[in-house]
Amino acid sequence: MADLHRFANPTRFLRLAGYIQPWAAGIFFISLAAGLYMGLYASPGDYQQGESARIMYVHVPAAWMAMFCYTIMAVASAVSLIWKHPLSDVAARATAPIGAAFTFLALATGSLWGKPMWGTWWVWDARLTSVLVLLFLYIGYMALQGAFDDRTRAAKASAVLALVGFVNVPIIKFSVDWWNTLHQPASVIKMGGSSIDPSMLWPLLIMALAFKAYYVWVLMIRMRTELVDNKVRIMRLRQVHGG
């Protein structure tokens, strides 16, 4: 924790974030271009699903990010509740809308894929339902953040909510194993090695890297904005109180 607390100093963090941000943006654009090229042109279509399987290159990384962002949010919330690390509040708050956007993207692309493959936009299957609940949890979290005038209260209340809602993440991950559902079970990360062909695995992993870099990029922007916003607020308060 001693190392983490070094970055509790917002000025030091701002400098670090300013350094990370262009790198994350660069990795995002390069890996997105490479991943899209490999996924859409250079890789074969699926032998059963044909070309529409390519939507996987967006859908799967988005779904991974949806769970990843919630996990980050829950960890940051735990850190802020336990160690009162000032930046973890900011990180959790900044992560929520990004995670919600990824969740929505995963649901939307899944639905677009489901129409030709399953013949329906939506099924009430365990994986889909639990991801929908995840979207509701993100929305509830953001609503709770906005419901208080006092920012520290908002941060604490929503940190508790994020931790309570975390029970949903393992349910999403294992829903395809626990219930016999329409959604296909895991094929990339599983016992006994990946069952996906390398020609499809590589574009998928590169797209996952692109999404992760995008997350880091936007997170840095949002956290910097919030820290600067805090500074401005404190300066205004000082002006008002004549300090």
Binding site: V133, G140, A147, A157, L161
Partner: protein
Amino acid sequence: MGQFIFLIRRDLSLAFRQGMDSVMVVVFFVIAVVLFPFGVGPEPGVLERISAGVIWVAALLAAMLSLERLFQTDYEDGSLELLALSSLPMEVTVLAKVVAHWITTGLPLIVAAPVLAVLMQMDAGGFGVLILALLLGTPSLSLIGAVGAALILGSRRGGVLLSLLVLPLYIPVLIFGVSAVDGAIGGYEYQAQLMILGGFFAGSLALAPFAGAAGLRQSLE
């Protein structure tokens, strides 16, 4: 233990003296269910098919309606601060409040449910399981709801916000509650669903008081 029971008795006598709260919850429950035959038409086949789901959803909403006041009045008149100062751990305070909430809302809902099941043309084979499922499910609703009720203290638009926070977390209870009753009506296995409901109850009983207490503490800072 003495303090715990005293707190439950205090909340119960407050609820009974102040009046109509738990009666209102049951009336809402009944009206919400009665709306469905008007909405989907009175054919017995249709009503029977949806009866378990409608009763569960209405019970969920009714339990949620009364949650807003679980800590709100104590928060506003300052007795919550006194409770925080007392020797009773905050977790036990939350548990006592939840028990009182369940007695004043969960229990009346369970009593009213068979009558509504008759109105919804439910097969008589489902009654016992409906009551059993509600007995196992409604305590979880009160427990999970207490976390939400603690988090919204002092916020704007608390009631609407509460539904947004709590309803997604109610979905698992709803799924297994309905499938237990449907299983019993259809003549399938329903013990597994009841056990999962019991598992939810045990899990939320162990965890929700801590989350609720964390929520209350931050509201008092």
